[in-house]
């Protein structure tokens, strides 16, 4: 199981732009690297990520092997209403991790 770290401000004013940081533990094996016996290691990467704000997608991305290991993303969203931010990572070999964070909007 991969560890995911998320940073969402717990409180925000309505209409404020909040910064969100999402980090997840993953090797992001490119598929272009040989092991010590010269055989290419098979690709194993996270291919997509999305962030849902009370069910509505506010950020999504598609990743390629050129992403560094332990993909780290920083993005922004408008604090519209109190609720839950849900984070989903999916990748090769059935990789799937979900995390969520609460935000209180005043």
């Amino acid at each position: 199981m991969s560890r995911a770290l998320i940073s969402v401000p717990p409180k925000a004013k309505k209409g404020e732009v909040v910064q969100i940081k999402a980090l997840i533990q993953h090797v992001m094996e490119t598929g272009f690297r040989p092991n010590s016996s010269g055989v290419l290691l098979p690709r194993d990467i996270i291919t997509s990520f999305k962030c849902l704000y009370n069910g509505t997608e506010v950020f999504a991305c598609e990743m390629f092997p050129a992403m560094a290991a332990n993909p780290f993303l920083t993005f922004h969203t408008l604090a519209t209403e109190s609720g839950t931010l849900e984070f989903q990572w999916t990748g090769d070999n059935g990789f799937s991790v979900k995390e969520s964070a609460k935000i209180q909007v005043e």
Partner: protein, 151 residues
Amino acid sequence: MTGMTRRDILHCAAGGAVLLAVRPAAATPAAMQEAIRQVVGSARLTPGRMQLSVPPLSENGNTVPCTVTVESAMTAQDHVKAIHIFNEKNPQPNVISMQLGPRAGRASVSTRIRLSETQTVTAIAQMSDGSFRSHSANVIVTQGACLEDTP
């Protein structure tokens, strides 16, 4: 004696073979242009009004921080729809494609990327009116990603 001796020729051949063996299949600037064309289509790329921030010199190509900021009001009428990052010389030209919208509030994203060698990185912003912006930056990489053995 002028010209190449047999020894020189053998040296060259061996050197060439080593170069070929060491360099894996790599994307070329042309491959990057093609990948950009696939996103942009026939639209024109306008440089400016966005910033791709990468360190000019990176000691470790395995993790190069990069930030893309696009000047935009981020309203329902005028916002950034997507930000794409491309590289010139990694095995593949694509790095990441991000989908944004007016709900983002601010068109500024950061991540960490891998670079196999010294090269130019290009960011493309797709605007809601159908236009495209671009900004490129050169990164000098001291130790490239991808090539070293597993520990």
